[in-house]
């Protein structure tokens, strides 16, 4: 884990480290002459299908509460205080802004997963978001080449019965959850496992600017027979505006 947590710092060093970890897996598909395929390993499971995040871990945020540094804690406490007082304070989702990673994970809508040897694609019904997780052994872009995106850049590899997904490069506009901002240093490592009940995504978030220590959370998904449908959050259909004090109000 410590090795993975340092990956965002040294992407160039990280790839060989991950490749080293993969040597312990019994079977790997390799195409000689294709460096990117060198790290493709045998998948432990296939997540292809439709899933639905379960309650109560799924709604609007992550549990347990984040281990915030004092300055960040003040922001979060202010948001909690104002929301407890009945104000939709600091509510960017309510203005149809994209959630991005990791907030998208907390939306209680179905997701559709398509898995191949080199890619896991997750389609989120919620606002038609898509996430691409590359399993072909590529490293993250060099820090100077990263273009911040809502979903960030995700690479994955198999660690025995676990799919390990490493994400960096998330833009800083959305909060991790309302009231928990992050910096460009946010680094997320997910460990996905298939269980008889569904699949479990253990999510470890680190951002030394905000967090005292890595924030370890979890979401569980169950198989669903839902068929995904289009969902656009259209501002002209949205009956809310944000006032000068940052409070979302119906109109």
């Amino acid at each position: 884990m410590a090795q993975e947590l340092k990956c965002w710092l040294v992407a160039a060093v990280c790839a060989p480290l991950m490749a080293g970890a993969l040597l312990t897996t019994p079977a790997r598909a390799q195409s000689p002459g294709d460096p990117a395929s060198a790290a493709v390993s045998k998948p432990a499971f296939d997540l292809t299908g439709t899933w639905w995040v379960t309650q109560p871990e799924g709604a609007a945020g992550f549990k347990p509460d984040p281990p915030l540094k004092p300055e960040a804690m003040k922001v979060w406490q202010e948001v909690n205080r104002r929301r407890a007082a009945g104000e939709n304070f600091r509510d960017k989702s309510g203005l149809c802004l994209p959630e991005g990673m990791p907030l998208i994970i907390t939306r209680v809508y179905p997701i559709e997963v398509h898995q191949t040897a080199k890619m896991v694609t997750i389609i989120y019904e919620y606002e038609n978001n898509v996430r691409w997780i590359y399993l072909d052994g590529r490293p993250h872009p060099k820090p100077e080449d990263i273009i911040p995106t809502y979903m960030g850049h995700s690479i994955g590899h198999w660690d025995g019965d676990t799919l390990v997904v490493d994400t960096i490069g998330m833009n800083t506009e959305p909060d991790i959850q309302p009231g928990v901002p992050h910096t460009a240093k946010l680094h997320i490592v997910e460990r996905m496992r298939l269980t008889p009940e569904g699949f479990v995504d253990q999510i470890t978030m680190d951002d030394p600017s905000i967090l005292e220590k890595p924030w370890v959370t979890q979401k569980r998904y169950k198989k669903s027979d839902a068929e995904l449908q289009e969902y656009h959050c259209l501002l002209e259909n949205n009956h809310f505006t944000v006032d000068a004090d940052g409070v979302l109000r119906p109109h």
Binding site: A59, A60, G86, N88, A226, F240
Partner: protein, 126 residues
């Protein structure tokens, strides 16, 4: 005088919070209170990110108030049996809502009794 408002306060006992259904925070709604409104549908908007019911309620004194009632998204509603034609203007219905904290005429949808007596929530079947 045909319509009236019953105000009933009770603890929210639904399995899912409105936070789970909304694209925005549910802080503006008082989930500890459920008010029952009896009135006539003036508009039913079945569109993302949220469906809305506009309900004209006549108070005992004869004055009219229109309530704006927010539902979850059509995506989730259709999985709970809702359709674009489930309601039409003129329908007389009974609607339970979690009211807005600020006391204005609106709330978060909880449950409806349709003109034919059928009761519908936003709970997804299964």
């Amino acid at each position: 005088m045909r319509f009236h408002i019953l105000r009933i306060s009770l603890a929210a006992t639904l399995g899912l919070s409105s936070a789970a259904w909304a694209h925005h925070s549910a802080a503006m709604f008082d989930a500890t209170k459920t008010n029952t409104l009896v009135g006539t549908v003036t508009q039913y908007q079945f569109e993302n990110p949220h469906a809305w019911i506009y309900l004209m309620v006549v108070n005992p004194g004869g004055t009219q108030k229109q309530y704006s009632i927010e539902m979850t998204s059509p995506n989730l509603l259709q999985r709970a049996g809702w359709r674009p034609a489930t309601l039409k203007p003129g329908d007389r219905v009974t609607v339970k809502i979690h009211p807005l904290h600020d006391g204005s005429n609106g709330g978060s949808f909880v449950e409806i009794t349709l003109p034919d007596g059928k009761v519908m929530s936003q709970q997804r079947a299964g």
